[in-house]
């Protein structure tokens, strides 16, 4: 049996993987550019005109700039720096150039120094060569080879070519080109100058002091000397030392002044992004919260990120403030509700409303169950820390490639990890479902809130369905062929064919207002003021709201289960052992209740596994009709707003639940029924 279980579980893992691939495919195969659509969905809250930069940020955020399934060239530190340098030289697109500059200076930082310094020489040499050629051509313009030189200039510097009327003489051309000498020189020097700017930015405020407008060759020499002097400070051994010193320091500076005066921190910042991998590792391996915090603080300083795993006094105060506001709002809400109730009561009694007669609930009653300030703040602190940790992990998944050159094995796994599917799946296996585009809340939180309501509805529905279906099925099978059986069978058959959305609409039509009965509320699970009700009042109100949706969910299942029950029962009743039991002279009640029913119940109970997904499908319709914020409604809304993380998560979860249902019912079947053999 254990072998069977193990086999099933292994197969289940395989199926789950297949499910996630399929689920991912369904959503990514959406027609239209998914990046633009996702960005549009993201932006539809605020701005709707997307520029290239926003699009790119969103692409990076959701890994849409990566291949779908296999990344044949997962980026490493070297390739990233090279790619960014190329972007830096993009003459056409200034925004892209600025973006690359910021990335090199701020994000990649000292990690790129080693690769950038050697770039300087060739760039300066190239600029010198081009400048010499330019001068040559400019000189030639006034001589015999003017036409040739003009052609060469036009080819090299087409963008700067002067527009002269046809038939202008050589002197005019020479004059015109000469006027362009300054911008031409700037264009020639630009790549080298940009690199210098990057270098200065990375090591600021250190680096060689260069006067304004210094020549390229001088600057190169200055930087090369500086590098030969300071190279050791960026060597791995030194970096390790600095990191070690920081980590062993014990305690982080509490104020900004203290941080500015902290020598270890200053050393760490000087080393810069080179320290990031070591700090990240330290954070993951940290044995205590203090050590983790130490590493995170350092990492925040070198990577310029605000997630330092510390909650300072100011933030605590903000949390306290928030608690005050919530508390005040709650008190005000309850008092307003009491006033409204008094007003209604006065209206009903035909008296005039007297504000002084309102009996307000006491503050204790209002605040019963409301968290104390300390609890609230500590909850918020814990939440903040958890969010910081999450952000670090999320960041590192992509940022690692800025700081590390991976070896072959890592590159191979990264070929699968650094893809859209890889990122999604790597989050999925740690049950991280991402954040909703629309609501800006973790998907898991939204789903859990909604799931509670759906579960409430469905548990009651399943319970009621079984409660009525089993006796009905038994009755009509025992009384097979009688009028009662025929009536109940036909009724159930018809009931089974009633579309659930129509049933819901008809229930609303018939029971929620004129011109027909007006007994039940048509929408939501609770009254709007339900918070202020007494426990008993809340409970009855909830029950009242549940009646219609539960009825709409139950009738179909009831019909289905009782039909199955009848068939199963009939089959059992035809068995030899029932005849034997009857022949033994056992009373009818024992034959039916003990011998037949128990055997007929087995397949019925295992139906439950299959009912779960059916109920989810039903919830989509019923919850939408009755405006209940359950899983079905959330799914419906997420589809309307194209909230992809939410859609994917709900599809995944429902598929997973179905799979689980099938497994559980199979195992339960095998456990309950000794006639089944394990294969």
């Amino acid at each position: 049996m254990w072998q069977y279980l193990l086999k099933r579980l292994l197969l289940m893992a395989l199926t789950l993987f297949g499910i996630s691939v399929l689920c991912f495919l369904i959503v990514t195969m959406a027609p239209g550019d998914p990046a633009a659509m996702k960005a549009q969905a993201l932006a539809s809250g605020g701005q709707s005109n997307l520029d290239e930069q926003t699009l790119r940020k969103n692409q990076e955020l959701y890994y849409l700039d990566r291949p779908t399934f296999v990344n044949f060239e997962p980026p490493t530190r070297t390739s990233t720096v090279r790619a960014t340098l190329e972007e830096l030289d993009d003459e056409e697109n200034e925004a892209r150039r600025k973006d690359a500059l910021a990335r090199l200076k701020g994000t990649i930082g000292t990690s790129a120094l080693e690769l950038l310094i050697p770039e300087l020489g060739p760039r300066v040499a190239d600029a010198e060569a081009r400048e010499a050629k330019l001068r040559e051509h400019l000189a030639a313009l006034r001589s015999d080879g003017a036409a040739q030189a003009r052609a060469a200039l036009g080819e090299d510097y087409g963008r700067y070519e002067p527009q002269l009327p046809p038939g202008s003489d050589d002197a005019a051309w020479a004059e015109a080109w000469a006027r362009r000498e300054e911008p031409l020189q700037a264009a020639i020097e630009a790549p080298a100058r940009r690199l210098l700017e990057v270098l200065a930015g990375i090591v600021a405020p250190r680096g060689p002091k260069l006067p304004e407008g210094v020549g390229l060759a001088e600057a190169r020499d200055a930087w090369e000397t500086w590098w030969s002097e300071h190279r050791a400070e960026y060597a791995p051994e030194h970096v390790q030392q600095v990191v070690k010193a920081w980590l062993q320091k014990g305690g982080v500076p509490e104020t900004e002044e203290a941080a500015a005066a902290d020598p270890e921190l200053a050393a760490l910042v000087q080393v810069g992004q080179l320290a990031a991998p070591a700090l990240m590792e330290a954070m993951h391996d940290a044995s205590s919260e203090a050590a983790e915090r130490q590493a995170a603080f350092g990492l925040a300083a070198v990577a310029h990120k605000p997630w330092d795993l510390t909650v300072d006094a100011k933030e605590r105060q903000a949390f306290a403030q928030e608690w005050e506001t919530q508390r005040a709002a709650r008190i005000r809400g309850w008092r307003e509700a009491a006033e409204k109730q008094a007003k209604r009561a006065a209206e009903a009694a035909g008296k005039t409303y007297d504000p002084s007669q309102v009996s307000y609930p006491s503050e204790d009653a209002i605040l019963a169950g409301f968290a104390s300030q300390e609890d609230f703040v500590s909850d918020r602190v814990a939440e903040t820390l958890a969010r910081h940790r999450y952000r670090w992990d999320d960041w590192w998944y992509r940022a690692e490639e800025y700081y590390v050159d991976f070896d072959g094995g890592r590159q191979f796994t990264r070929g699968f990890a650094q893809t859209q599917f890889g990122r999604w799946f790597s989050r999925l296996i740690v049950f991280d479902l991402g954040e909703s585009y629309k609501q800006k809340r973790p998907v898991s939180e939204i789903i859990w809130d909604a799931f509670k309501k759906t579960l409430q509805l469905n548990v009651i529905a399943i319970f009621l369905a079984y409660l009525f279906a089993i006796p009905l099925g038994v009755y009509s099978s025992v009384k097979r062929g009688t009028l009662g059986d025929q009536v109940s069978t036909l009724t159930l058959f018809l009931l089974y064919s009633v579309p659930s959305f129509w049933a819901g609409a008809m229930l609303i039509l018939l029971f929620t207002g004129p011109p027909f009965l007006s007994i039940f509320p048509a929408h939501h699970l609770s009254d709007l003021n339900a918070e202020t009700f007494t426990a008993w009042g809340w409970f009855t109100d909830r029950l009242w709201h549940l009646v219609l949706p539960v009825a709409a969910l139950t009738y179909g299942q009831l019909a289905y289960i009782s039909r199955q029950m009848r068939t199963g029962m009939l089959e059992v009743l035809g068995q030899d052992y029932i005849r034997t039991a009857k022949a033994k002279g056992l009373p009818q009640s024992v034959v039916i209740g003990k011998h037949a029913l128990r055997n007929a119940l087995i397949p019925i109970l295992t139906l439950m596994g299959g009912i779960l997904p059916m109920l989810f499908a039903g919830s989509v319709i019923i919850e939408t009709i009755f405006t209940i914020d359950g899983l079905g409604k959330v799914f419906f809304d997420s589809i309307l707003s194209r909230d992809y993380p939410l859609i994917m998560a709900i599809l995944m979860i429902s598929a997973f639940l179905t799979l689980l249902g099938i497994l559980v019912s199979d195992i339960a079947y095998a456990v309950v029924d000794p006639r089944i053999e394990f294969r």
Partner: protein, 676 residues
């Protein structure tokens, strides 16, 4: 399952028990026919399909048959002729006077255009005339064309006037222009008369009086043309109005102020009369005969109609076709259908039909013209799928509206003096035109004709619910049929492959099936549908088909696994038959029983899914109707539009029940254990 093969209907209920030559299919069919409920359901489904196929002839805003005098086209052509004639003369006169260079070019272009176009307009005008007048008119027309070509101005103007007087008079507007223009001159003329009298210049007075006589003649002539086709009392009343004016103008001694008053009175009477079409004038025009509803069918519609009729004939008279082979039957069904469709398209190329409201207005006109012999025959439900009559929105079903009207009538009768205070039903508001005194119950009854009463009411946009349901049945029924066909195909192929070849193939296909099974169907379909920018019925069919095949695959696989071990397969293998042959000729026919059952239930399921999708707003794109989308239109106002909530759901329920009953019947018939 209306298309269930009639070939199997070779035995009748109550026939002697199974003889040796009876095929499995024939036995199943005989068993199926014993089940009265299932048989009735099959008939219900067949009728529903009939309604769907003939929907454009049952519910349409376009009449089936139409014979009417097309006054509006005549008026339009008359107006075009008069306008062009005037502008041609103007252009020519301006050119003769001489104008600037650019203007000359423009005027010449105009003149050339009118010269070319006028004969055509005149030919159209001739088409409207009664046959007896056409010969004379044709002569005039030729004269006019030749004169227009040569631009003999004076003659052309005279000829044009003659055409306008003689042949355009049936147009109320042109006749009105004929009398209104000289009548307008009367005012200035009386002022001139006043001045002349004051100045006491006999010569001038004489001239003015001569002018007055000429003007009086013009007015008399125009008026004669205007009243020519009007009934005698109207002619007499116009005569009475005009006599003092005309005699006054001719005699010359009249008081100018009184003349002005007379002219004004005549003008007012003319204004009132011109809004009414010339009564009886329409009959003088030849009537137009048309079949708009038939004309605007599509070729596919026609093909399906023929197919449906033939199929019904084959089913009802199955004895007559007893000896026919399957191929011959298929040919007899498909051949004529295809020919009809292609032929229809060849004879009637597609056109843009006028809107449904045009035919409603025409029918209204015909009904008002009591003396006329115009006929407009609308289909049973005289409303189009998307014909929204704004005043009719929120109309309850006709029966209920009748009850409301009856209650109102009796309440008004009981109230007596205080009838004004009785609250008016919605129906009274519906027929109330603006600027009209409140309607009495009798008036409402009169206006409550077939063209304005809705059997199942209307939705919030004033669209007839019954018409939408009938047109929507095409979507709902075809989605059920086509999507099940798609998934049966996928399921059978995958199931057959994995059941026959087993081993690795089986493992891979079964794993994949298990993965697809795990997704709840409706949410999956909603998610996929939502990703399409432009939903359409074909996507719905395809997606339901692509997501629902798992059950069929498992059924077929199980059957193949079971049959694979049987002797007849081994025998077939030992004969050296190829795999495809064993698969399709030996195994598949034996495995089809459960597939048919699943298919029947599947159609019910697919109809439910499509309705649910449309109900939630992910189904057919908005103006198109399907049962679910009609129900969707009542969302949020279930109580206000209770009829829109009840009827579509009822229809879905009946259809789904019918399919489920057929499925049950098939299962019982195919299950040998249940056979007695």
């Amino acid at each position: 399952m209306s298309a269930t093969d009639p070939q199997q209907a070779t035995t009748q209920p109550g026939a002697p028990p199974i003889d040796e030559g009876e095929s499995a299919g024939a036995i199943a069919w005989r068993m199926f026919r014993r089940n009265a409920l299932a048989r009735a359901s099959l008939v219900v489904i067949h009728v529903l399909f009939g309604i769907a196929v003939f929907a454009p002839l049952i519910a349409s805003g376009k009449p089936l048959f139409l014979r009417a005098h097309d006054t509006s086209a005549y008026e339009a052509d008359v107006a075009a002729f008069l306008d062009w004639h005037r502008r041609l003369l103007e252009a020519q006169r301006a050119l003769e006077r001489g104008v600037g260079v650019t203007q000359t070019a423009r005027l010449e272009a105009d003149r050339a255009r009118f010269q070319r176009g006028l004969p055509e307009v005149l030919a159209r005008l001739e088409g409207h005339l009664p046959r007896v007048e056409r010969a004379d008119f044709a002569l005039l027309r030729e004269d006019y064309a030749s004169l227009a070509g040569r631009l003999e101005l004076t003659q052309l103007a005279e000829l044009g006037d003659e055409i306008a007087r003689e042949y355009c008079a049936r147009s109320a507007l042109s006749a009105y222009k004929g009398v209104a223009a000289p009548l307008l001159e009367v005012g200035p003329w009386t002022e001139a008369l006043d001045d002349a009298r004051r100045e006491d210049d006999p010569a001038l007075l004489e001239g003015i009086q001569a002018e007055g006589r000429a003007l009086a003649d013009e007015v008399a002539q125009g008026l004669a043309a205007f009243v020519r086709f009007r009934p005698a009392p109207e002619q007499a009343s116009f005569g009475e109005l005009a006599t003092p004016l005309l005699t006054g103008m001719r005699e010359g001694g009249a008081d100018p102020g009184a003349l002005r008053a007379h002219a004004r009175a005549l003008e007012l009477a003319l204004d009132a009369a011109v809004d009414q079409p010339v009564p009886g004038a329409a009959q003088l025009l030849p009537p137009v005969t048309a079949f708009p509803a038939l004309r605007h069918l599509s070729a596919v519609d026609v093909g399906f109609m023929v197919f449906y009729v033939l199929l019904s004939a084959m089913w009802i008279g199955s004895r007559a076709f007893k000896g026919w082979s399957t191929g011959a039957r298929a040919l007899a069904l498909l051949g004529p259908s295809l020919l009809a469709a292609l032929g229809f398209r060849a004879v009637f190329p597609p056109t843009f039909p006028p809107g449904d409201s045009f035919y409603k207005a025409l029918a209204h006109e015909v009904a008002r013209d009591e003396a006329g012999d115009g006929v407009v025959v609308f289909p049973l439900v005289p409303f189009g799928e998307n014909e929204n009559i704004y005043q009719d929105r929120h109309t309850p079903p006709a029966l209920w509206e009748g009850v409301q009207l009856g209650a109102w009538e009796s309440a008004v009768a009981a109230a007596g003096e205080r009838a004004e205070d009785v609250p008016r039903p919605p129906a009274a508001r519906r027929f109330q035109e603006p600027h009209e005194p409140p309607l009495t119950p009798n008036q409402v009854r009169q206006r409550w004709t077939r063209l304005r009463s809705h059997w199942l009411g209307t939705d919030g946009n004033g669209r007839d619910v019954l018409a939408r349901l009938i047109m929507g049945s095409r979507v709902s029924l075809s989605v059920g049929f086509v999507s099940v066909a798609i998934y049966l195909l996928i399921g059978i192929v995958l199931g057959a492959i994995s059941g026959y070849f087993r081993g690795w193939v089986d493992i891979v296909i079964s794993r994949f099936t298990e993965i697809v099974i795990c997704f709840p169907r409706l949410p999956l379909i909603i998610a996929v549908m939502a990703l399409f920018d432009k939903p359409s019925i074909f996507y719905i069919m395809a997606i339901i088909g692509l997501t629902s095949w798992t059950e069929v695959m498992r059924l077929v696989r199980a059957e193949f696994l079971r049959l694979g071990g049987l002797d007849f397969v081994a025998a077939a293998r030992s004969q050296g038959l190829s795999s495809p042959r064993i698969l399709f000729r030996h195994l598949l026919p034996n495995a089809m029983g459960p597939v048919f059952v699943a298919g029947a239930f599947g159609v019910a399921g697919a109809i439910l899914v499509e309705s649910a999708l449309s109900f939630l707003g992910f189904g057919v794109p908005p103006p198109q109707a399907s049962w679910g989308s009609v129900l969707h239109d009542s969302r949020g106002q279930e109580q206000v539009l209770w009829w829109v909530t009840i009827f579509p759901g009822l229809l879905i329920f009946v259809t789904v029940t019918a399919y489920n009953l057929v499925g049950e019947g098939l299962r019982d018939a195919l299950d040998p254990r249940l056979r007695q």
